[in-house]
Amino acid sequence: MLSYVFRRLLQAIPILLAVAALIFLLFSVIPGSFASSQMADGRTVMDAEAVTRMNQQFGLDQPVATRFVKYIGQLVTLDLGTSFRTRQPVWHLIAERLWPTLQLAFASMLFAIAIGVPLGFLAALRPGSWIDMVSMVAAVSGLSLPKFWLGLMLMYLFALTLGWLPSFGYGDGAMKNLILPSIALGVAPLALLARTTRASVLEIMNADFVRTARSKGMSERRVVQWHLARNALVIVLTTVGLQFGSVIGQAVVVEKLFAWPGLGSLLVDSVSLRDIPVVQGCILVIVLFFLLVNMLVDVLAAIIDPRIRYT
């Protein structure tokens, strides 16, 4: 298992480098620069001399190939560079935004798992029943709801109408501030988990080993607990892993809406101001998390299901 983990970590390196190269090239060709972004408000005038000085300061006057080699060289030494706009190391900016994003991602996944998995199970155990119908309609709706709209509706209901929760902000990272953004972010994975769980449970229910277990007189509770749940869990776990990686990326919209101080809002600000080192750093960290979580899921799947062997 350890050698598998090590190999997966090694495999992550070329993926990260490929992503880094892709982002670098993308931001080299799209219009706009940090200097031009400074003029976006129509107040600031950046004459040609100031633009030249700024480009020299950030090394943007060098050819793309030279900049790319330098960037990859920095990356190899785990140096993500310096932010154009704050003049601070990118690592520093990411570090102060990482925990709020992880808080949000964990809370939204917890919400999704706590509701989505039991819902999918119930629907699968009573296929065609009203529970099945309602839960699947809810799941489809959950997948289709735009996060921005959903977030606003949650604010409207729980903050403005009922007055139960604050509509925005991080507070001190307290639970009351976390609830609404977590729900807004967690509804889509909840819906997907419910559907995936239902589908996998239905499939396993018709499997030979379940029929055998029942024919041997095993109680329904034990069948569900030992065969259905355990086997479905592998698929559910894989979905959770994929979704966990996704919610970190999708947090962009929710963080901006709720003024949540995470990586997502840092990424949006940095894209609009063409603060390329920060954009690159944020995306690399998000990709890294995605890879790590999926590796962890694979390891857990092997622990849960002894049939899975990684060599």
Binding site: G32, Q38, G42, Q57, E96, Y156
Partner: protein, 529 residues
């Protein structure tokens, strides 16, 4: 137009009067919002040119001058008096001797010299350098040709002499948070910006990046009895819809309104009571590139102005959250000419002008625009059928906001739509139409007219304020006649405020920028304690 201006002034005065009529209350928390898209960049006010950062800069720091919103002009802040030399280039400031940094140390001339020198650091490119470079020797220092800025001279601890490279009003140069005065010695400590100190009415408490900046009252602020509130919490909230809910939920004390919300707030009898409107110094316009053949002809540019029903667009799309432009200089400019009339909507006249210019069948041009709802693609889409009626076809070139400035400054466009600052200093703004001003330095349409040059030269040379204003009015009139741009509108900034918040200032340079020492909350605020 005049009716609207009168209404705005009346609203402002009514608000100012009612605020003055009550005795300011001490205590409580002001819950302010930074309403634009991005988070605060950092705790260093020198590094960012964003309005967002200036908002907290007004609480934490102080500058040599401040903006007097009531009289619409810069006034001394960190100096008690200033005298200018006969040629208007040397300014001697008698500094305040009671301005204390938040560590209790008295500000001296050294702090101002150090702060301005820092802004010219050749390795940093601080945005405030755009102002300090007007000081003699600053550009040489930036190029590494001098070890210090020769135009900054300490006479004694509380007397500072600033020599400018040309005659100018230093009040327009050293008033924004970009030129904030930092404590010279302390600011060089490596961890200074983890907990910065300044000269402002509020001390830094904490900054949760992307979420809030918290500041508390500085008891030794030099304005006796001020500030009033115990604390200021500023939250960056770029999403207008989220800000709306937070405002209605009484979680924040102010919100800047967009066109849609402006209509909704006006329709609500309660919310309507707390609206502050100001004609900001921004002119929305479509710049036309004279290197694109049709636009080199004044008649074509005038035809464009006649072909567009600007009033209709302002009413329907901008929801009356703008004032019709009647020149480059806006309503709040001292050189605004109230006698100027807007181009009338007259497609027949436009057609006639196009025919005279040799375009009886019209022509096609590419229009570069951002997605901005008030001066971007939605406006362009409304204009397209109007121009089509006179035979002018438009191809839209959508670009991101962060790319527009670079495209325009390079002249890489046929036409663009933008909102450009057109104040507060009318002389600086009219220099954007001075033939020797490079395209990259705000003469975006490479405008040239010897008559305008002459008027600007005379305005810059005279000491007579009334004469200068008159000369600039004339220059503005010629520019309007030459129509280098489609004069669309002047921004009407709208701020919604809670009934318990008092002391707001109608700041025409940017309404979101408020001097927090003048704000206070009455006992009805949810954060009154």
């Amino acid at each position: 137009m005049l009716k609207r201006l009168a209404l705005t002034t009346a609203l402002t005065l009514t608000m100012a009067f009612s605020a003055q009529a009550q005795e300011p209350r001490r205590g409580g928390t002001i819950r302010f919002t930074a309403p634009y898209a991005a988070s605060f960049v950092s705790n260093d006010s020198h590094v960012s040119n964003q309005v967002q950062d200036e908002i907290y800069g007004y609480a934490l720091h102080r500058t040599l001058y401040k903006w007097d919103s009531t009289n619409n002009k810069p006034v001394l802040e960190l100096a008690k008096s200033v005298t200018a030399s006969a040629d208007g280039t040397v300014h001697t400031f008698k500094l305040r001797d009671d301005a204390l940094f938040h560590n209790g140390r008295k500000m001296t001339a050294d702090d101002i010299i150090w702060s301005f020198t820092r802004l010219m650091d050749p390795t940093k490119n601080y945005p405030g350098a755009a102002y300090v470079r007007r000081v003699k020797g600053a550009q040489e220092f930036q190029k590494g040709e001098a070890k210090e800025i020769s135009g900054l001279k300490k006479i004694d601890d509380f007397t500072l002499e600033i020599t400018l490279i040309e005659k100018a009003d230093p009040g327009f140069l050293f008033r924004t948070a970009l030129t904030s005065i930092f404590p010279a010695k302390e600011a060089q400590e490596p961890d200074f910006f983890n907990k910065p100190i300044g000269l402002g009415p509020y001390k830094f408490v904490e900054h949760v990046p992307g979420s809030r900046m918290v500041l508390e009252r500085w008891e030794k602020f030099y304005q006796t009895g001020k500030p009033y509130a115990d604390k200021v919490v500023i939250s960056p909230m770029g999403e207008a819809a989220a800000r709306d809910i937070a405002f209605r939920n009484k979680e924040i004390d102010v919100s800047i309104l967009g066109p849609t919300q402006y209509v909704a707030y006006q329709a609500d009898p309660n919310l309507k009571k707390g609206i502050l409107e100001v004609a900001e110094v921004f002119t929305r316009n479509m710049g036309m590139n004279p290197n694109f053949k049709p636009f080199s002809d004044k008649r074509v540019r005038q035809a464009i102005n006649h072909a567009i029903d600007s009033d209709l667009i302002i009413k329907r799309l901008v929801r009356d959250k703008a004032y019709r432009a009647t020149g480059w200089l806006p309503l709040s400019s001292p050189a605004y000419d109230k006698d100027m009339k807007p181009y009338d909507f007259n497609p027949e006249k436009a057609k006639k002008l196009l025919t005279e210019a040799g375009y009886p069948d019209g022509f096609e041009f590419e229009w570069t625009a951002t997605p901005n709802e008030s001066w971007g693609v939605p406006i362009v889409e409304a204009v397209i059928p109007m121009l089509a009626k006179v035979g002018v076809k438009v191809k839209v070139k959508p670009v991101e906001g962060s790319a527009l400035g670079g495209i325009v400054a390079k002249g890489d466009y046929q036409a663009y739509i933008w909102s450009n600052t057109s104040g507060p200093d009318p002389l600086t703004q009219m220099k954007c139409f001075y033939s020797q001003t490079p395209q990259s330095a705000c003469n975006y349409t490479t405008y040239k007219n010897p008559a305008v040059d002459k008027l600007i030269d005379e305005a810059a040379a005279t000491d007579d304020v009334a004469k200068r204003i008159d000369l600039l009015k004339k220059a503005n009139g010629i520019v309007y006649e030459d129509a280098p741009v489609w004069f669309f509108n002047y921004n009407k900034a709208v701020m919604a405020y809670q009934p318990w918040l008092k002391g707001l200032q109608p700041n025409a340079t940017e309404l979101a920028l408020q001097y927090f020492e003048d704000l206070w909350v009455d006992a009805s605020s949810p954060a009154a304690k």
